[in-house]
């Protein structure tokens, strides 16, 4: 089989020119090796579908009250109806519908929050790493401060001051999680910039833009995507927590956190009001964590070598 280009090698593992098909099939093999990641991807996709197609998937509206059908247990428990598969809450709102719509809030908040955090963080981190010296110190000082503090307390504090709104929650998550992205980015950029590969490229006269695009960015993708999936998973938790103490989105918006807060009053009498939102959170979080685990295993060369 001489159709693969042979280049000179440095070690036992040869660098062979990969075609696009090779890359895809390699990804497939990596996925098959860690089949559990497929579960993660499926879960993630199912939640996205739920969020996007919520109106189509649900028979009711999330705010639609029906006091005649209030406090119904899930369909498989005595007293429940199949018209309301997950039961209803104290105002007669269908739980299933609210859970599905809740996915919008949770995913929306976490996804956009993570996006903002990543954008700000990567920007700051790369500037700090590239500039070095005083600018680096000035940028990293507040970042290190935020990272060493009890995160939740401050988030709760700020959320309380700013008031309940969707935008606020997204912004808070975005800004307060930017530091972790900044720190990781800075670390990676520094590491890559100091690698002999890049140093020789600089010696050969490569401009900083070229170095950035060809050398640095591709290496950033792995750790950043990993971090993003874990951050999204974490933000779903944070939203739930904030909602639980009444500091998340306004009570009219169906979010899993808000549902937990509402359900708490009826914990022992109508436990399904708390069970389902929690399960939804757990389900989504599980998917994101599995996905994040797999991405990390696949993109970190050290872990790859040491597997089993």
């Amino acid at each position: 089989m001489q159709d693969k280009l042979i280049t000179s090698k440095a070690d036992t593992l040869l660098e062979v020119q990969y075609t696009w098909w090779d890359k895809m099939s390699r990804l497939g093999r990596l996925l098959w090796r860690d089949r559990i990641a497929i579960v993660g991807i499926l879960i993630f996709l199912s939640v996205v579908v739920a969020a996007v197609f919520a109106p189509i998937l649900t028979p009711y509206k999330p705010l639609e009250q029906n006091l005649y059908a209030s406090k119904l247990p899930p369909a498989w428990v005595a007293g429940g109806m199949w018209e309301h598969p997950f039961g209803t809450d104290n105002l007669g709102r269908d739980m299933f519908t609210r859970i599905v719509y809740g996915a919008r809030v949770s995913l929306g908040v976490s996804f956009f929050g993570a996006l903002i955090a990543a954008f700000i963080g990567v920007l700051l981190g790369s500037i700090a790493a590239y500039a070095g010296g005083k600018l680096d110190e000035v940028i990293m000082a507040p970042i290190n401060l935020v990272l060493s503090l009890p995160y939740l307390l401050f988030v709760v504090f700020i959320a309380s001051v700013l008031g309940r709104s969707l935008i606020n929650v997204i912004l808070i998550f975005g800004v307060t999680n930017a530091p972790i992205f900044a720190r990781v980015t800075r670390g990676e950029v520094l590491r890559i910039r100091q690698s002999p590969y890049v140093e020789s490229a600089i010696c050969a006269g490569a401009g900083w833009a070229r170095i950035l695009i060809i050398h640095i960015l591709p290496n950033l993708v792995g750790p950043l995507v990993t971090l993003m999936s874990f951050q999204i998973s974490a933000m779903i938790f944070y939203e739930a927590g904030l909602g639980f103490i009444g500091l998340s989105v306004p009570p009219t918006v169906p979010s899993w956190g808000n549902m937990l807060a509402e359900g708490r009053r009826y914990l022992t009498s109508y436990p399904w009001l708390t069970t389902f939102p929690g399960l939804a959170i757990m389900y989504t979080s599980l998917g994101m964590n599995l996905l994040g685990d797999w991405i990390r295993d696949v993109s970190d060369p050290r872990i790859r070598r040491a597997r089993r």
């Binding site: 090698k9 036992t12 593992l13 093999r29």
Partner: protein, 328 residues
Amino acid sequence: MMNYLLEVEELVTKFYTVDGVIHAVNGLHFKLKEGETLAIVGESGSGKSVAMMSLLSLLPTPPAKIEHGAAYFTRKNGRRVNLIQQKYHELNDIRGGEVGFIFQDPVTSLNPILPIGKQISESLIRHLGLSTREAYEKSIELLDRVGIGDPKLRYRYYPFQLSGGMRQRVMIAIAVACNPSLVIADEPTTALDVTIQAQIVDLFKKLREDLKMATIWISHDLGLVATLADRVLVMYAGQVVETAKVDDLYERPMHPYTIGLLGAVPGMGMERSKRLVSIEGAPPDLMIPIHHCPFTWRCSRVEKRCWETRPPLIELGGEHEVACFLYE
């Protein structure tokens, strides 16, 4: 009937990776007598280190797998065992106790949080059954022997407090601590300065004489090998291409690869106008199994049959063997 200390037959080691199977060692074959020094020479990726580590099961399995082969080692008590088939417990008695291994990179090969003296004593306590006190004394002695000054003080030093040369001396001390009958040295001087290299080699020669050890010295430095070895084995793409007594090899290299290698070494007193002859091309991709001579792509004397089957090791007399059809 000469009893060989180590007889390796048809060693085949492969790495099963996500990207494919790497055929790192494709049939290694050699015999080693007691007290003899064999040098294994080859370029990076020729399989030299992998082969030696396979012998002592030092490769991570997975992804590595020793598919095939035997390595008959004669132990101090006279028993002849196949290293490849040993269970952990028996192998462990041999490792360190009868076979020492010196690794290439002294920086990463020493435990950073243990004092170096302790890393030597560990071995002594395990194999010679010494008490902590006795092991301590002997370690001091060993440190002194390998040329580390003020050993009582240095016993407590951590690896990062030593220079590269001193770290390698510690590695040597560890390897010879229990008076092994065989020491395998994997390019121990490659990571060091040239001046330090010479010192380490001298130290090694002295130890070899005092302790009467057999040695397998892996290197890609032909000049170094010339001063150290009794016999040389040349590896290419995981296979043996030539083996001979050291003088024989240098004066009468037979395999086109060996000839090329020797021609590529700059020598003192070379005429200025003479160009360095380098071998064109690059070693083959080890992920593709090769069922013919691996050197075909770069060989200046290649013929049709070289592409068809693997050349067997042909004896040329005087312990000189070549794997090349030219000499059939």
